[in-house]
């Protein structure tokens, strides 16, 4: 039960937090909600000299709805799921965050902690990819933005440098006529890790002609990813059973799943296609 020894720092501002990141580098473990950090510490998977807690940085707990949605990195999944701004501007994210773990986990876990940990099974990540979100990263030089589809670099690896912190997620305004769907497909119980997660944001008109398509996939590759080949088959075309089937097959083909307790690689690939097809069919009313 005991954790290893470390010094605990809880800066009050983003600037102080960045300065501590510069000072300690890899000797500091950043702690957001604490769910991942505490397990890493308890299992001795890391042995940092310092824990850099973001719990007291008030600026990271805000949700701003000016010109799009900016969600501070320390906003919890519960707060995202309860937020009226998120409900109106990004209902897809509200749904995704409502699926994280269980209520007590959602009360502690943060959106920023989840995304910067970059687990391929993250529930919000596919939704944020489908929403064309950006990562707002704070560093010594100020703030920079990285489109989320360039943010996930590899297994548990992101674009955040050693002297930087994820400060917020930015979700641009959705176009009129946007349809979104989310499916966290689990093989066992609802709070388990997903076999595949599909999130989509599709813009189509009354005649089912699709002008924009973004499909985020989780748990079927080393990182959360966009099913770009599927999107390319949908954009500019009418949604029909045939075009949907082709897009679903393309989505399955772009996966690179591993086999684990949530399913074999073959099953996950198959279910990716099934759920992309079903969700698109639901949007199209087919």
């Amino acid at each position: 039960m005991s954790l290893p020894r470390f010094d605990y720092h809880a800066p009050k501002t983003i600037g102080e937090a960045v300065a501590l990141r510069q000072q300690f580098g890899d000797d500091a473990l950043v702690m957001a909600g604490g769910l991942t950090a505490m397990i890493l510490l308890r299992e001795r998977l890391v042995s940092p000299r310092v824990v850099l807690s973001l719990s007291d940085v008030a600026a990271l707990r805000r949700i701003d709805a000016n010109g799009g949605l900016t969600i501070g990195a320390m906003v919890t999944h519960s707060e995202v799921a309860r937020s009226e701004a998120v409900a109106s501007l990004a209902p897809l994210l509200r749904e995704a965050c409502g699926h994280v773990g269980s209520p007590a986990i959602r009360n502690m876990g943060t959106l920023g902690g989840n995304i910067s940990h970059a687990d391929s099974a993250s529930d919000p990540a596919p939704a944020l990819l489908a929403l064309n979100a950006e990562a707002v990263i704070a560093g010594p030089g100020g703030e920079r933005r990285v489109p989320l589809d360039q943010f996930f670099r590899g297994t548990l690896t992101t674009a955040i440098n050693g002297d930087e912190l994820l400060a917020a997620l930015f979700v641009p305004r959705s176009a009129a006529g946007t349809h979104s769907r989310f499916m966290k497909f689990t093989a066992t119980s609802a709070e388990a890790f997903a076999t595949v997660t599909v999130a989509m944001s599709i813009v189509c008109d009354g005649a089912n002609v699709c002008t924009e398509a973004r499909i985020g996939l989780g748990s079927v590759a080393p990182t959360p990813l966009r099913a770009r080949a599927a999107e390319d088959l949908l954009r500019g075309r009418k949604l029909t059973r045939e075009s949907i089937a082709a897009a679903a097959a393309a989505a399955a083909a772009c996966t690179d799943p591993s086999s684990n307790g949530q399913g074999s690689a073959e099953y996950r690939r198959e279910m990716t296609g099934v759920w992309v097809r079903r969700l698109l069919g639901d949007i199209a009313g087919l």
């Binding site: 039960m1 605990y8 809880a10 702690m31 397990i39 824990v51 007590a104 502690m108 709070e191």
Partner: protein, 165 residues
């Protein structure tokens, strides 16, 4: 060392804590509140769940230092004036306690649920308890107990002699 001041079950508690002490250790080892349990150590089983400022959290994954100035409620804090809460009585009446290990966490989650949603549906009760594992009861009597407590919920009663100080 950090000088920690925290309210636990309505009583202020002050002590020096090292950075690495968990809220779970503080409650059980420093305050002898053994109701909160430890099983998975990963936040999955729910047996360590307590309320922090009224919000359910996993004490096994919380550092004690992060509770500075907060109000923590454990299962021991659910009674008032030496009387168990109606929710606890409902668990007894419905046979929702077998080995008892999951019970404190279940009571904490159900307390938070009923405070926020006094008349939950069965689906809402099950969704609220989804992060609390029970190996004995099969969950049905626990769900029945929460629904029964919701149905029989009384508002706080008037006589000051029955209130906790």
């Amino acid at each position: 060392m950090h000088r920690l001041s925290v309210m636990v079950n309505g009583v202020r508690h002050e002590q020096d804590v090292p950075s690495h002490r968990t809220l779970f250790q503080l409650l059980r080892e420093d305050l002898d509140l053994a109701g909160t349990k430890d099983a998975c150590r990963q936040g999955v089983c729910g047996s360590c769940t307590v309320l922090v400022d009224g919000v359910p959290m996993r004490s096994c994954l919380a550092l004690a230092v992060r509770c500075q100035g907060k109000h923590v409620t454990t299962v021991e804090g659910l009674e008032t004036g030496g009387k168990i809460a109606p929710l606890q009585q409902a668990f007894i009446d419905e046979g929702a306690v077998q080995c008892g290990y999951c019970t404190p966490g279940m009571l904490i989650m159900a307390t938070a649920l009923l405070d926020a949603n006094p008349a939950p549906t069965e689906g809402e009760v099950r969704a609220a308890l989804i992060g609390n594992l029970c190996r004995c009861t099969g969950y049905a009597p626990i769900v029945r107990a929460v629904l029964a407590a919701a149905k029989n919920r009384h508002p706080p009663s008037a006589p000051s002699s029955s209130r906790a100080p």
